[in-house]
């Protein structure tokens, strides 16, 4: 085990703190999620560390509960998009021919519509619940993962060891999961860090526009929306979730970079 570089360490600490707060929210949060505990927009004090929000709920508690929702939805959507996108991408690369054509053209079609617009259209006709949100985000995002994993896998399928596996008579499952996946992991992990952050931004955007997580549940985008009027009066409540999103984005990517560096030098695997 080599020494962890400083950047990765900072990233690890911040990422760990955010994820820890999200997981242990019920024990950490000083007040309930929707509990009204004071006047609206109280300043920072010893009882309310980050002040209160537009209707007098404790902002720190809202941030912690909101972080839980945001991180959970983003992580689930990312996981879904990666499983779906990479399996389909690898299949397209391995099978080629009409399977590849159908999958690739469908993805092109989906990508030609901006994902925010398609999400808004779909969510406006569907009941907005967490599973629906995760499903919509995951499927829309899987198109990007499909593109990447197909490109990576096309390079790998022409290697002699994949041909050797084919000549042996191996099925598609073995070729995808045992021959290609281990060699495609490095770029996918790096992309996963990036995609997770896009998912955080996406769910925050949706909530801000009112089609994401529904009140009284908290999430970071929703908190910005609820407190945006405060900015006019010089109240920073809306900026705190923005700050959280930014620091989470940077720290997750620092960690992903570090993982990428470590895995690509390992066991003589391919770089990039």
């Amino acid at each position: 085990m080599r020494r962890i570089p400083l950047a990765a360490l900072i990233g690890l600490i911040f990422t760990g703190a955010y994820f820890g707060a999200a997981i242990f929210a019920p024990w950490i949060a000083p007040y309930g999620m929707a509990e009204v505990v004071g006047d609206s927009w109280e300043p920072w004090s010893s009882t309310h560390w980050l002040g209160t929000d537009t209707i007098g709920r404790d902002l720190l508690s809202r941030m912690i509960w909101g972080g839980q929702t945001t991180i959970f939805v983003a992580a689930a959507a990312t996981l879904l998009s990666f499983s779906l996108g990479s399996v389909l991408g690898f299949t397209a690369a391995v099978r080629g021919g009409w399977v590849d054509q159908i999958l690739s053209r469908t993805v092109d079609l989906m990508m030609s519509i901006p994902s925010l617009i398609s999400a808004l259209v779909i969510l406006s006709v569907m009941p907005v619940t967490l599973p629906v949100l995760i499903l919509v985000m995951g499927i829309l995002d899987s198109t990007r993962v499909f593109r990447l994993s197909r490109a990576v896998a096309v390079d790998i399928t022409v290697m002699d060891y994949v041909e050797a596996a084919r000549l042996r008579g191996e099925g598609q499952g073995w070729i995808i999961f045992r021959e290609i996946l281990p060699n495609a992991l490095s770029p996918l992990v790096a992309e996963m860090g990036l995609r997770f952050i896009f998912a955080v931004l996406f769910i925050s955007t949706l909530s801000f526009l009112g089609l994401g997580v529904q009140p009284p549940m908290a999430d970071w985008g929703g908190i910005v929306k609820e407190n945006k009027e405060g900015i006019v009066y010089g109240i920073p409540a809306a900026l705190i979730p923005a700050f959280a999103i930014a620091t989470l984005a940077i720290s997750v990517n620092l960690v992903a970079d570090w993982i990428l560096n470590r895995t690509s030098s390992l066991k003589g695997g391919r770089g990039g």
């Binding site: 002699d160 060891y161 000549l167 042996r168 008579g169 281990p182 030098s265 695997g269």
Partner: protein, 545 residues
């Protein structure tokens, strides 16, 4: 010693290695090597890969590739110390006093620029001559090197000339700034034998006519014997032997040099050809999808069990395509392939598990033939699991047996391919093929990427395994020496057709057809003056026609 141009004394070259999971450490690549090249002479540097020959070659322009550092000794060029020289001085010397010809011309040229621009680039950037003069000189050099249409070839782009021509253009590029010393780094290794001989002759003539000194780096002693005046044999970064070409070839004093000179000493008695064949290829014609050009035309060959059929030809002759047709990767458009008495279906998918098991393949590049993320145990064990349903202890015992058969220790089972040497990788690939208990193994240029001594070991191993297991080999190669060593019968391929076919003793005995004659006579022999003899002979023949 007034005429000494390059004088390297006690050179020491180091680099830092980063073994996985261990702290970095310094390794010595070249230790205490001294070389002197006089004006107008050619020194051959010879050795296996990793012997440090390219590293020493590049040190003649005080350059270390990657993290390589020239840490000790002196490099005197024209009496001037250049090892410790500054960047500015080195820049004026590289591409002017010393130039370099790389192995892969295709990778060394910029595909987006015309050849002429690239040939005269250094002459112009060093301010050595005006453009018109440089272009005139380049055309002269093109003519000297025997390039077709020397006035206009400079207007072409790199993809518009052949590999052999490109290598000659690169030689012209190196000679254009009138250097004192040219470093040739394996200039003909990537070429077919029939092309190699022309390039070799052109380089030799150009060296002679321009009176330039040269370092000629290669792993092929027979090639270097044709061009060099002196030869230095290197191994593991140390000098083994240094002498005139004549002395090294005829009276080598070191054990290692003797091994290099007498390499391919394998004798192999031809087996009885009148046995019922295990593989029968009949009138096979094939083309790649979306093209209307037949890569294989009406090919018919037979291979008796336990024997070796060598397919010989230059690149593009269709020999690897034949292997793809037999394995089912490229379904032939016509013809039939019969294996062990039953007809093989054309498509890979339609073949039974036994059909797949009994035909195995070994590739040229062992590096990419093994998944870098699987251990040797997984790589060899998978066919056992897949075809014979072995697992646990039974599988482990069988893997050990196979490792013993390929003469590798038991400690290798948990290693990754990156932790093996080139020869070991190829052995693991052989073990993977053997694990399936095949009747036929297709060997696609399996020794071409290996050093001669290592390749020899692999060939001996293959012959032993054939004797022990009775497996037949379809051996694809461009190397006649390998064919002589192991084949029972030979098919010579040219432009997708079999032009000559039969038992080894017949195919390699006169009278020859034109192509086989050209192919056989182009293989360098370890003999002084061989190149001149061949060229003289060819000139007489063409004059006679």
């Amino acid at each position: 010693m007034a005429d000494v141009l390059l004088d390297i004394r006690n050179l020491r070259i180091e680099a830092t290695s980063y073994p996985p999971g261990e702290p970095p450490r310094d390794v010595v690549l070249v230790d205490d090597v001294s070389v002197a090249v006089e004006k107008g002479r050619v020194l051959g540097l010879i050795g296996e890969s990793g012997a440090g020959k390219s590293t020493i070659g590049l040190s003649a322009m005080s350059y270390g590739r990657g993290g390589v550092r020239l840490t000790g000794g002196q490099i005197l060029l024209n009496g001037r110390e250049i090892r410790t020289a500054g960047m500015r001085e080195l820049r004026s010397l590289r591409g002017h006093e010393v130039t370099y010809v790389a192995q892969s011309a295709a990778a060394a040229f910029n595909p987006a620029k015309q050849l002429m621009e690239q040939v005269i680039e250094t002459s112009l950037s060093h301010g050595l001559m005006p453009r018109a003069e440089a272009e005139a000189r380049a055309v002269d050099l093109f003519r000297q090197l025997g390039l077709p249409d020397p006035e206009n070839i400079g207007k072409r782009y790199p993809h518009q000339v052949s590999g052999g021509q490109l290598q000659r253009v690169m030689t012209a590029m190196a000679l254009c700034p009138k250097p004192d010393l040219v470093i040739f780094d394996e200039p003909t290794t990537a070429l077919d034998v029939t092309t190699q001989i022309d390039v070799l002759a052109a380089i030799k003539r150009a060296i002679h006519e321009t009176g330039v000194a040269a370092l000629y780096i290669t792993h092929d002693l027979a090639v270097v014997a044709q061009v060099a005046d002196d030869i230095m044999v290197l191994r593991h970064g140390k000098m083994v032997e240094y002498g005139t070409t004549e002395q090294i070839i005829t009276r080598p004093s070191e054990e290692y040099t003797r091994a290099l000179v007498s390499v391919r000493g394998i004798e192999h008695a031809e087996k009885d050809p009148s046995v019922e064949p295990v593989l029968r290829v009949q009138n096979v014609t094939a083309r790649y999808k979306g093209t209307n050009f037949d890569v294989l035309k009406n090919v018919s060959v037979d291979l008796p069990p336990g024997q070796t059929l060598a397919i010989v030809g230059e690149s593009g002759s269709g020999k690897s395509t034949l292997a793809r047709a037999i394995t089912g990767l490229l379904p032939p458009s016509q013809g039939r392939i019969t294996f062990a008495g039953r007809e093989l279906s054309r498509e890979l998918k339609a073949r039974s598990k036994d059909d797949l098991r009994e035909v195995q393949m070994i590739y040229q590049m062992a590096d990419v033939a093994m998944n870098p993320r699987q251990t040797v145990g997984t790589i060899i064990g998978r066919p056992l699991e897949f075809y014979f349903g072995m697992s646990g202890e039974q599988k482990r015992v069988r893997i050990q047996e196979l490792l013993d058969q390929i003469e590798m220790g038991r400690g290798f089972i948990d290693r990754y391919p990156a932790e093996l040497s080139g020869g070991q990788k190829q052995r693991v690939c052989i073990a993977r093929a053997l694990a399936a208990k095949p009747k036929l193994i297709i060997c696609d240029e399996v020794t071409s990427a290996l050093d001669p001594l290592v390749a020899d070991g692999i060939l001996k191993l293959l012959l032993n395994l054939q004797a022990a297991e009775g497996v037949a080999y379809l051996f694809i190669t461009h190397d006649i020496a390998t064919v002589r060593a192991i084949a029972d019968r030979i098919a010579v391929m040219f432009k997708g057709q079999v032009v000559r076919y039969g038992p080894k003793s017949q195919v390699l005995a006169p009278p020859f057809d034109d192509y086989t004659d050209l192919l056989l006579s182009s293989v360098p022999e370890m003999e002084l003056g061989w190149l001149e003899q061949v060229l003289e002979h060819r000139k007489m023949e063409s004059a006679g026609n």
